[in-house]
């Protein structure tokens, strides 16, 4: 099969479109960046693509709430075409602002008669923060995370605290295996150093199933926003839609890691595998 075509959907204020396209190119995809107005004019054009990506940024300034305005546009004008896109077995990825947008549609979690069931709200620290985090993967059937156990990636957001409306909603998502990415404790100072990886492994070991709860277990700043259950990303029930706060496109080259000058040489960055998984799915 030929290279899968990737639609990078940008809106006013989107600002991670170029590096996201670059990441898809490195992974072997054929990305194209389109303004949302073009898709609103011609929703049928979606059929030309295999992967839809909503990149990071501040769509419409994040005015009112992060991702709200673009989310509403999708909800009111594109829900049928995107429903068809999804039903055709294609992939949807929302990164940071893209995740915030997806949560304002019904593509990741469903709205019920009381309104939306999940949200991404203001970080506990009260403002935008940029820092690196460690992520444990509980991938289930998520296409994008296939074969990945752990990732180190940067986050950069003000409204990234995942909140489910109540414990029941949280448990339901958990049981469905949708809570696919969780923040993990950062490695100790010493274990960041070359040749000291044993200690890092111990700290990286997964939290056990029994201690999972809506309460965050990982303290700030390893859980950078106070997210419920330390959730950094969720997928839909089919595993073909993924939304995540961290930025995989910002770690596709080894020199993007904050410790690259003190670690053994890496060939690629952790984030590249997310894009490779998406592209490979169609090959």
């Amino acid at each position: 099969m030929t290279q899968p075509r990737v639609l990078i959907l940008r809106a006013p204020g989107t600002n991670c479109d170029e590096e996201t396209a670059h990441a898809f190119s490195l992974a072997g995809g054929a990305p194209e960046s389109w303004h949302v107005n073009r898709i609103l004019e011609q929703p049928a054009r979606l059929v030309d693509f295999q992967i839809l990506c909503l990149p990071g940024g501040f769509s419409y300034g994040d005015d009112i709430a992060a991702g709200r305005i673009l989310g509403n546009q999708i909800r009111h004008h594109l829900s049928d075409s995107l429903g068809d896109f999804h039903a055709a077995g294609k992939l949807i990825l929302g990164i940071c602002n893209g995740f915030q947008v997806l949560l304002k549609t019904d593509l990741l979690t469903q709205t019920d008669s009381h309104g939306p069931t999940t949200t991404l709200t203001l970080n506990d620290c009260g403002h935008f923060e940029a820092r690196w985090v460690r992520l444990g993967v509980d991938g289930g059937n998520c296409v994008f995370l296939n074969g990945i156990e752990e990732l180190e990636l940067p986050v950069a957001h003000a409204e990234g605290k995942f909140v489910a409306r109540d414990g029941e909603t949280f448990a339901r998502l958990e049981e469905a295996g949708q809570l696919v990415l969780r923040y993990r404790p950062m490695a100790d100072r010493g274990s960041q150093n070359a040749g000291d990886s044993k200690q890092a492994k111990i700290h990286a070991s997964r939290p056990q199933a029994a201690i999972r709860s809506p309460q965050p277990l990982v303290p700030y700043p390893a859980n950078p926003n106070g997210a419920m259950g330390d959730v950094a990303g969720i997928s839909d029930a089919t595993g073909r839609v993924l939304g995540l706060m961290p930025h995989p496109e910002r770690f596709v080259d080894p020199t993007q890691h904050p410790c690259w000058t003190r670690r053994p040489k890496q060939e690629t960055g952790d984030g590249l595998r997310v894009f490779q998984n998406a592209v490979q799915y169609f090959l």
Binding site: E19, H35, A156, N193, P258
Partner: protein, 982 residues
């Protein structure tokens, strides 16, 4: 009909807004134990809007129902004034006092981007509101009326842009302005005597000098008519210090200890001249592309691209409204880069701030001055919200504290842009090109910014010049950026410039300088009714660019802009008349000869004298243990960690980050410079750093400037930049240069810039000055007081690396590695941070041996390129001890070093001097034991000492004469360095 939608937090959600106000009130001593609740909200206006529509709007658009709940009503309905359930801290309103409700609204005409977006999004839901405004609301429990008023006025609102309404809101419509009726104003200037001219200049906020006013009077007497108000404003803007830099480019007679020197154009004969000589010397290897002619300096990067770099200041607006001032400061410099050549793509930002100490007692503030904490918070957030939204990484910065920045903080904002070779030069508009305004609409915001920046700040500035303050809308500018770069690549315009200070007046006047322009002012799209023709012309509303567009490309440009929702409007034409002609609905309101505007200003003639500061020796204490001194230095505000600021800025967007502002094992050590790859397919890197030492200027501004250049360059070299490819920028922020000694100290700094730039072969490519940074007020005894800022020269540096994989960071990497000190240590404690923490005056200020520095930088670069350096850190504030401590805790390892090994001048034998002197051109390097011989060979003939090694025991130990003179754990050192955060 006017509706109000209040958005309360749902139960169990943390009320951070209320918590922040309570904490700030405590800090400022306004109220000890404030109980309050905060909410945000919207006013929605629309004919016959039913309650159902407002409910839908609140639930589907405005409220996040998982964590918030809406309260809806017509303005004035009682449910809107009922306080939400609980007060922060959990307790109820005490003392039997009823809760007091306070609403904060933006003043009419102030930019409200959220409201604009909400209006568009409401239409998308099929709800046709005619106007929306945002608001903030607070309920106070148990506070007296006086307390509520004080907190409201000092903390909740800034009088420059906001109004506070105590008690229930009573209004029936949002003020939208009313239509403007033409009333052509002329100013009878021909009859005025010299005194009356001066008065007109001041009261009309023209801020021109007497000779300039006389020239204008003469011009109009010759013409036989009086000027219109818009003509006078145009001249004042074009001739303002801000736009013409007339002082430093003017005639100056300078006297110092060496005698007298005459300058016809001071900047041209010092800083520009050095660059020109360097370029001549380089001959065909000249890598400067466009210097001192365009918005930004441009240098060569690779086969396809050049780099543009510009740093601006936005000091006076930031003093009055820190958030808006800083916000529009960064927005403005980004437009500068967008308007360079045919348009450059911004790739990173740099921000440097100067503030008064955050612990300044609140009761010591002069009238009209905002507390430094409030200024700091506002500036940091203003830069954050604009830069992050634009998707431009903020990769470098610095913060300096000094009491003299109290009334006049400094905000330097810089942007680097990437531009294709064939788009790098400024082009002229061609005859008959359309004048196209692109981007945001014009409003009454930012009137008189250009002229206001030429005046000193006073305790009344807030009221006088409130209109000069603006709030930016980053997304509007991002949209402009997106379409502009596309239009550039399709060749849709001949020339572009930004609308900055002076608005259309400046942009059109500059672009049309060599041709002529004819503008129909009524064509400019307005935010609201009521603007006069003059306001349209001089408004500094943000996010606007001006293009010169050929008639036949106009349809394509218009279609492109429409497709991305950006407004583009033709407001006139460039015509070969040599005149600036402005019409408003068919009435000619201005008709000026462009020669008068651009060549007619009488030269400014100034006296400058430099009096060397009285020299007296600085005696450092001799003692056996300096551990406490080191801890104190690490927690000094200028040295201490700026992580709380850095983390609020996205420094990795665009995906090219290589060396981040914070590095090391736990990502929290202070990097010397930032490195990024602007072209993701390439390995070539850009390096950004800066240097600044206001404290040295108190002793000698020559050595201050030389040190700042050395610092900026060595920061770049420390991470791997090629010293032969570093370009620098100057930003002079000074006090009132009508005082000969103030101007003298500036000229002396410029002379150092010339000498050191030339000796290093490091060209200046752009620069900017901001004079009159003083604050005047009347103190309690009725005496007039003036606080002038210290001489503040920021040097920004932009370097390059061939392959980023060669870059080095400052964190220690491996126990057993050896530590070297590169460079010579002298007894240069004058102006040092050691002197500051001990209150010691006098001493020798650090000097630069330029020839030696050039050799050292070259050797350092050879060693780094050859892969011989595992870590490298420059020595600056706090000297050797601070540098090694930072390397140690950043790497998570200990270090041991011996002061007896340090190469020093004969007078520098005391341990305090060797530990803390701030002598220039020094680095600490970590070298692997198997590479020491090769490393040492790179520095043959230069001062180099093996001073110690990296240890695994997590302790920092300095030894002098065989005994430990510093011993501390690296976690204690790191704690000291991080404790003053916020």
């Amino acid at each position: 009909m006017l509706w109000e939608i209040d958005i309360h937090l749902a139960e169990g959600q943390m009320d951070r807004a209320a918590g922040r106000v309570a904490a700030a009130a405590r800090e400022l001593g306004l109220a000890k134990d404030l109980h309050l609740v905060a909410a945000r909200g919207y006013l929605v206006q629309g004919d016959g809007l039913p309650r159902e529509a407002i409910d839908r709007l609140s639930r589907q658009l405005l409220t996040d129902l998982v964590v918030e709940r809406p309260v809806v009503g017509r303005v004035g309905e009682p449910q809107l004034n009922e306080m939400p359930t609980a007060f922060s801290g959990g307790s109820q309103a005490g003392d039997g006092l009823a809760a007091r409700c306070v609403t904060v609204l933006l003043k009419p005409g102030v930019m409200d981007p959220v409201a604009q977006s909400a209006l568009v999004a409401a239409a998308d839901l099929g709800i046709s509101a005619t106007a929306i405004r945002t608001l903030r609301k607070y309920w106070f429990g148990g506070a007296s009326e006086g307390e509520v008023e004080a907190v409201s006025n000092r903390l909740l609102a800034n009088d420059a842009i906001e109004q506070v309404i105590l008690g229930p809101l009573e209004m029936d419509q949002i003020d939208l302005g009313s239509p403007y009726r033409l009333a052509l104003k002329t100013v009878p200037i021909r009859q005025l005597d010299d005194n009356a001219l001066v008065q007109l200049s001041r009261e009309g906020q023209l801020y021109l000098q007497s000779a300039e006013m006389q020239t204008i009077r003469h011009y109009f007497r010759e013409l036989g008519r009086d000027p219109t108000d818009i003509e006078l404003e145009t001249i004042a803007q074009t001739w303002s210090e801000h736009c013409s830099h007339k002082t430093l480019a003017g005639r100056i007679t300078y006297r110092d200890e060496h005698g007298e020197r005459q300058f016809n154009n001071m900047l041209r004969e010092t800083i520009f001249a050095a660059t020109q000589q360097i370029r001549q010397r380089l001959g065909s290897d000249d890598w400067c592309v466009s210097v001192f002619v365009d918005n930004a300096g441009v240098v060569r990067f690779d086969e396809r691209f050049h780099l543009a770099f510009k740093v601006e200041t936005h000091n006076h607006p930031s003093a009055l409204e820190p958030y808006g001032g800083a916000n529009t400061g960064i927005g403005g410099v980004i437009r500068d880069v967008l308007g360079t050549g045919l348009g450059a793509k911004p790739i990173c930002n740099t921000d440097v701030f100067c503030f008064a100490p955050p612990d300044t007692p609140a009761d010591s503030l002069p009238p009209g001055v905002l507390h430094p904490r409030r200024v700091i918070r506002g500036v940091v957030e203003g830069v954050r919200d604009y830069g992050n939204r634009m998707g431009i990484p903020t990769v470098n910065g610095a913060v300096y504290f000094d009491e003299r920045y109290l009334g006049n903080p400094l905000v330097y904002c810089g942007t680097v842009g990437l531009i294709p070779h064939d788009k790098s030069h400024k082009q002229q508009p061609r005859p008959n090109d359309l004048i196209v305004a692109l981007g945001g609409r014009t409003g009454r915001d930012g009137i008189h910014g250009a002229t206001f920046s030429s005046a000193e700040l006073t305790s009344h500035s807030e009221h006088l010049s409130g209109g000069a303050v603006q709030i930016g809308n980053a997304i509007e500018e991002k949209k402009v950026l997106d379409v502009l770069l596309t239009a550039r690549d399709r060749g849709l315009y001949h020339a572009v410039t930004d609308c900055g200070a002076g608005g259309f007046s400046s942009a059109v006047g500059e672009m049309g300088e060599k041709i002529g322009a004819h503008v129909q002012l009524e064509n400019a799209p307005l935010k609201y009714d009521g603007l006069s023709y003059t306001e349209i012309w001089i408004s500094e509303a943000q996010e606007r660019m001006v293009l010169a567009v050929a008639e036949d490309r106009w349809p394509e440009l218009k279609t492109l802009c429409e497709s991305e929702g950006v407004e583009a409007t033709s407001i006139g034409r460039f015509v070969p008349t040599g005149r600036l002609q402005l019409d408003y609905h068919g009435h000619r309101v201005a008709d000026l000869d462009l020669k008068l505007l651009h060549d007619g200003r009488p030269p400014v003639v100034r006296q400058a004298t430099y009096l060397p500061a009285e020299s007296k020796p600085l005696v450092s204490q001799d003692k056996s243990d300096y551990s406490d001194d080191l801890l104190q230095l690490l927690s000094a505000p200028n040295v201490a960690s700026k992580e709380w600021i850095i983390r609020q800025y996205d420094h990795e967007v665009q995906g090219g980050s290589v060396v981040k502002p914070l590095v090391g094992a736990t990502h929290d050590g202070p990097s010397d410079a930032a490195v990024l790859r602007p072209v993701l397919e390439s390995r070539r890197g850009v390096v950004i750093a800066c240097g600044m030492n206001p404290r040295y200027g108190d002793l000698d501004t020559y050595h201050m400037a030389a040190s700042a250049i050395d610092e900026a360059v060595r920061n770049c070299v420390a991470v791997g930049a090629d010293p032969l490819r570093i370009a620098i920028l100057d930003n002079f922020c000074w006090g009132d240069c009508e005082r000969p000694e103030t101007l003298g100290s500036l000229v002396r700094a410029a002379l150092a810039c010339h000498d050191v730039s030339l000796a290093f072969g490091t060209p200046f490519i752009s620069g900017k000055d901001s004079l009159n940074n003083e604050f005047s007020y009347t103190d309690k005894t009725g005496t007039r007081q003036t606080i002038a800022i210290p001489a503040s020269l920021l040097i920004s540096a932009m370097g390059q690396v061939d392959d980023v994989v060669q870059c080095v960071t400052m964190d220690l990497k491996q126990p057993g590695d050896l530590l070297y000190l590169v460079g010579k240590t002298k007894d240069e404690m004058g102006g040092s941070h050691y002197a500051m923490i001990h209150g010691l005056a006098g001493g020798q200020v650090p000097t630069v041996d330029a020839e030696r520095a050039r050799e050292t930088f070259a050797a350092m670069h050879r060693a780094i390129r050859a892969g011989l350096v595992r870590a490298c850190h420059d020595l600056s504030e706090g000297g050797l001890a601070v540098a090694v401590a930072e390397m140690a805790f950043a790497g998570g390892y200990g270090a041991r070093f011996d002061l007896d090994a340090v190469v020093s001048s004969p007078d520098a034998h005391q341990p305090a001097v060797r530990l803390f002197s701030e002598s220039n051109t020094r680095f600490v390097c970590e070298v692997s034991p198997d590479q020491t011989a090769e490393f040492e060979r790179a520095f043959v003939g230069m001062p180099l000492a093996r001073i110690g090694e990296v240890t695994a025991n997590n302790r920092l130990v300095a030894v002098a004469n065989g005994a430990n003179c510093i011993e501390a754990s690296i976690s204690d050192l790191q704690l000291a360095w991080q404790k003053v955060q916020r």
